[in-house]
């Protein structure tokens, strides 16, 4: 380490660590990032699998980074971040050769700021597609859109990009509950996904779509209570109010852009530098020690982009904290957004669905959900079978045919499709069984593709690559129990309860030690909020540059 002293040290070079580092460095705070892996990015990773020339997002995919304040504040487009906005939106292919296709009701009109505008043509098309199954559901969708536009959208952003309010002060979403004009039913705060699907929609198509959609959008099972944030988020993704986007070159390009913006401002980063100790003197964080034995001084603060077990218990020590706090930290639930087969098929031709006869646009949906038209199965039995067998009898998966839009991720003329299928938790199966399932799953998936498509044959598939939750948790060790949101995003762990009430303000009992990982509000999903909100707290404490005030933003 050339220089052993910096103003701020960031532990972990994931999305939030890089984000907070970038804001700090921009504010003139000399910052250094320490990453355990050989490559920065955390969940913003990409690998050239299943074979050379094909680039797979092995963790975060369909990143909508254009929605983050960071994208605008640093003009990350200038640093090479390019978002692609496909014409089609999210939708679902069913096992009876029908499909539900929706179109981006909002389209990004300014690629530099991520500003969106309503497309009445796409809205008409979306409502028409829904009405093929139920006119009443189409009316509901329109009604929900109006509510989102009127109050929810602003509240949603204010909620995401501000630290949680203290107990007793309603946050931006809770204010909706108190506002009779918001159109937010107070019961929705406590309803499960299944209850919400039935509450909102009549047709089995829309119910299945909402139920499978919420899994990818929130990481929860249909039986889980969602909380207001997840309800709004799921409605917005299902109706494409936030248009889907994919990152040119793969999600890892977001990390590159932030890293370049950071380094060009004088920031330093060190890979293969795992931290083993946070140095504390008189209750203040003063630096870190790496596993190589280097001690680095933090003149101002230490920010942790990793989980709490590491930050507090490993780097500092259980005995240094009040036992009530330790117990709460140990009891954090990591049992959601934690169990999926993630991977890719490399192919000669893109998938052609049988349902294309119903609507040809279904072949090119950036977020394609595929599964049986069976509400009971998706709502209930699916989870049971995932827990019992690992690979459920009826697969119900997400497919992202990214190569239709991004030619940099495939050799000329070839294609890939990104896959996500939920499964059981790590603890339900042995390591050896997961290793077997890693090989069995792609075979089973290809078999079940036959229900939906004629060209997903062994001849068309060049190779496949899949990670199970074992691999995902090994890639980033802060994904405890493979929870990529570093803690379930369930109502008891959201907002001012995330990760636990005592730590919800991105601060810790150790002075000058801050938290910015997905374990803090608003959670995982590369939303760009944890690091941003953490910086807000740091900026307040040390009187640093306030980008949001300079731009006159409410968030």
């Amino acid at each position: 380490m050339a220089d052993k002293s910096y103003d701020a040290l960031v532990i972990g070079g994931g999305a939030n660590g890089l984000l907070v580092a970038l804001y700090l460095q921009d504010a003139g705070v000399q910052t250094a990032v320490f990453e355990r892996n050989m490559e920065i990015g955390g969940g913003l990773c990409g690998d050239e699998v299943p074979l050379p020339g094909f680039i797979t997002n092995t963790c975060a995919t369909n990143v909508r980074f254009y929605t983050t304040p960071c994208y605008e504040d640093f003009n990350l487009g200038e640093y090479g971040l390019k978002q692609i906005f496909p014409e089609a939106g999210q939708g679902m292919i069913f096992d009876d050769e029908t499909c539900l296709v929706t179109y981006p009701v909002y389209q990004v009109v300014d690629h530099n700021t991520g500003e969106t505008a309503r497309s009445s043509e796409n809205l008409e098309k979306t409502l028409k597609e829904i009405s093929r199954f139920s006119q009443r559901d189409a009316d509901t969708a329109f009604d929900l859109l109006e509510r989102v536009e009127k109050k929810w959208k602003k509240a949603y952003r204010d909620y995401m990009f501000n630290p949680p309010t203290p107990f007793g002060t309603p946050d931006a979403l809770e204010q909706l509950l108190q506002d009779p004009e918001s159109g937010m039913d107070p019961r929705w705060e406590v309803m499960s996904g299944t209850e919400m699907a039935r509450e909102l929609f009549d047709s089995p198509e829309m119910q299945c779509y909402f139920l499978r959609g919420l899994q990818t959008s929130t990481g929860n099972w249909p039986e889980d209570p969602l909380g207001l944030f997840n309800v709004i988020h799921t409605i917005m993704t299902c109706l494409n109010i936030t248009p889907p986007a994919t990152v040119m070159g793969g999600s890892h390009s977001v990390a590159h852009a932030m890293q370049r913006a950071f380094v060009s401002r004088g920031g330093k980063f060190f890979v293969e530098n795992e931290i083993e100790k946070i140095l504390v003197e008189n209750g203040k964080a003063t630096g870190v020690r790496t596993v190589h034995g280097d001690e680095i001084t933090a003149k101002q603060c230490v920010v942790s982009d990793v989980d709490l077990n590491q930050t507090l218990l490993r780097f500092i020590g259980e005995d240094q904290f009040d036992y009530n706090l330790v117990r709460k930290v140990k009891n954090i639930r990591y049992d959601r957004m934690c169990a999926a087969f993630w991977g890719t098929f490399a192919m000669h031709e893109p998938t052609e669905f049988k349902a294309a006869a119903f609507n040809p646009d279904c072949n090119a949906m950036p977020r394609t959900l595929i599964g049986p038209k069976d509400v009971e199965y998706i709502a209930d039995r699916q989870k049971l079978e995932c827990s019992m067998y690992g690979i459920p009898k009826k697969l119900c998966w997400f497919a992202g045919p990214d190569s239709i839009w991004d030619k940099t991720r495939v050799p000329e003329g070839k294609h890939l499709v990104q896959i996500e299928q939920y499964t059981g938790e790590m603890k339900y199966f042995s390591e050896a069984r997961w290793a077997e399932m890693r090989r069995e799953f792609p075979k089973e998936l290809l078999k079940q593709y036959q229900i939906y498509s004629d060209n997903m044959t062994e001849k068309n598939v060049i190779d496949s690559y899949f990670d199970t939750c074992m691999e995902t948790s090994r890639k980033n060790i802060n994904f405890i129990n493979s929870s990529v949101s570093v803690g379930a995003m369930i109502p008891s762990q959201m907002g001012r309860f995330r990760p636990i009430p005592e730590l919800s303000q991105y601060q810790t009992p150790v002075d000058n030690l801050f938290l910015c990982s997905a374990t803090t509000h608003v959670g995982g999903g590369i939303r760009g909020s944890c690091g941003y909100n953490c910086y807000k707290i740091i900026a307040d404490k040390y009187g640093l540059k306030k980008h949001w005030e300079l731009k006159g933003r409410s968030y």
């Binding site: 050989m38 070159g249 060009s264 060190f270 890979v271 940099t408 050799p411």
Partner: protein
């Protein structure tokens, strides 16, 4: 005002070399790459299972002691670059349980050769000493200076007895050179492998002067700690710290040329970026001059020369493996040191076995033949974060297959990988389906898919043939890295001094650009030239 002083297309080792030197010289530089991850062949990826780092392209670094950029850019002093240089460099186990071993220390290599031939051991001792002198004097530093026309060059070289000996091998094939040196068929097998492993045809005349360098490099091979890609990290840090800008995922449509002068690049997405002083391309001649410049800007002679540019017909078939445990070699049962070799060359009991393999390649056939393999984590444990080991099989293989051409690789890759893994099991019995956690295959076609500049999987951007080397690389018009288009330079492996991550093309191109632009050089002339200069060779 232009957006940048200089734009460099292709962020491999050579493009990065040019970019970093010139950024540090105060120029505002943009480095563009098509791939999402920069570094070109300096790629280290987790392609089998998380926690297992594989060098997916360049793995052995052969010019570490000489390459000026490594020192000038302070990669190991200012940053944390570390080289790993194993004592036991290459081991060749034979089917009867015997083996040949090549060490860092030529004396120990002699001892190993002596078991097969007393005469060959003595020949090697003398060869090792002479080749080291020749490499120090000329063969290595020559990679870092622009070539001069052949007649002048030959006159200079012939005046020096040490270098003349190398020069006299020019007309010989690698096989003839090895045959002249060694009598034992196994010793010949080892040295023919070393002479050809970087892509020379065993029966090609006219580039024999490369053979002593390649054989000598056979006991100077390093791994980069943490994987080859770490060199990229550190060059990129130095570059960005000096104000450089990197943009990846950028597809260049064409160069903007006005009145015979390059003004910038036009991207496929419609954007244009202007360059006030220069554009340098590290891509191959066709990409740079035909695809991006356009034939209308070239005269017929140059166009013809570029169209005739030849790529190798063979490249590598690779099997990367995540392993539960490090391999235990049968030959190491009596001598544990043999478990620690950097490279194992398996499956060839004589030079004839190797020649049979090469002949099959010429016919586009995949036969059950030998290969080299390496287990980098044995030497560099941080490549496996959760235990286990990483392994790599590298086999010379045709780009076009006999039945079905290059596309047939998609059908054949799996079957052929199984054959290679089975062969490995014969030499290291603990490597089998139970211990191989996952594998990742890469064919010559895949190399081209990964790096389109490496056409036909040719990792040197063009074959090493008499008319494509030295002053003729890529041809006499372009051999000083400048082009007929004012302000346009070439700095890839297709220019002098070729491929294999020597940083030579990038370094030489940097010198040309700096001189043309009248830039004050912040770097000094490297000490590697001192002996050659004293001998009147430079």
């Amino acid at each position: 005002m232009a957006d940048y002083d200089g734009i460099i297309i292709g962020a491999g080792p050579n493009g990065m070399t040019v970019a970093t030197y010139l950024a540090k010289a105060g120029l505002k530089i943009l480095l563009l790459d098509k791939r999402y991850e920069i570094g070109g062949g300096l790629a280290t990826e987790q392609v089998t299972s998380p926690g297992f780092l594989h060098d997916t392209h360049a793995i052995y670094h052969m010019m570490v002691e000489y390459a000026p950029p490594l020192a000038d850019l302070e990669l190991d002093t200012r940053y944390d670059l570390k080289w790993i240089y194993p004592d036991l460099q290459v081991v060749m186990p034979f089917s009867d349980g015997t083996h040949l071993a090549m060490y860092k220390d030529p004396e120990r290599t002699c001892e190993s050769i002596r078991k097969f031939s007393e005469k060959d051991a003595e020949t090697f001792r003398e060869f090792a000493q002479w080749s080291q002198e020749a490499v120090d004097l000329f063969l290595a530093p020559a990679s870092y200076v622009n070539p001069i026309p052949p007649l002048e060059q030959v006159a200079k070289l012939n005046a020096n007895p040490i270098i003349r000996r190398d020069e006299e091998m020019t007309g010989l094939t690698p096989k003839q050179i090895v045959d002249d040196l060694f009598e034992n068929e196994r010793v010949r097998g080892l040295f023919l492998y070393l002479a050809t492993m970087w892509g020379l045809d065993y029966d090609l005349e006219g580039v024999g002067f490369l053979v002593p360098l390649f054989i000598n490099r056979g006991w100077h091979l390093r791994l980069c700690r943490g994987g080859s890609h770490h060199v990229t990290h550190l060059m990129a840090k130095n570059f960005v710290e000096n104000g450089g800008r990197i943009l990846s995922g950028m597809l260049v449509q064409n160069l903007i040329i006005e009145n015979g002068e390059v003004k910038g690049v036009a991207l496929k997405d419609g954007a244009t970026i202007t360059a006030g002083k220069f554009v340098a391309s590290s891509l191959n001649p066709q990409q740079t001059l035909i695809d991006m410049v356009g034939p209308e800007h070239l005269d017929d002679y140059l166009l013809k020369r570029i169209k005739n540019w030849k790529y190798t017909d063979w490249s590598y078939f690779n099997v990367h493996m995540a392993l539960k445990e490090r391999p235990r070699l049968k030959i190491a049962e009596s001598n544990p040191e043999l478990d620690n070799a950097l490279i194992y060359v398996l499956g060839y009991d004589s030079d004839q076995d190797l020649i049979d393999h090469f002949e099959a390649i010429k016919k586009g056939q995949l036969i059950d033949s030998g290969f080299s393999c390496c287990f980098p984590s044995v030497h560099d444990p941080i490549r496996v974060m959760n235990g286990g080991a990483v392994g790599l099989i590298t086999q010379e293989a045709p780009y076009k297959l006999e039945n079905g051409g290059a596309e047939a690789w998609y059908e054949m890759r799996r079957e052929h990988a199984e054959r290679c893994k089975n062969k490995l099991s014969q030499y290291a019995t603990n490597i089998n389906d139970d211990t191989i956690i996952w594998d990742y295959l890469s064919t010559p076609l895949d190399i081209e898919n990964k790096f389109p500049n490496m056409k036909q999987g040719c990792f040197k951007q063009g074959a090493y043939t008499p008319l494509q080397m030295g002053f003729y690389r890529p041809n006499e018009i372009l051999s000083e890295h400048s082009t007929p288009i004012k302000g346009l330079y070439m700095c890839g492996a297709c220019t002098h001094s070729g491929g294999m991550i020597t940083y030579g093309p990038g370094y030489c191109a940097t010198q040309t650009i700096a001189e043309d632009l009248g830039i004050e050089k912040w770097w000094k002339e490297p000490e590697i030239f001192a002996p050659g200069k004293a001998a009147g060779l430079f």
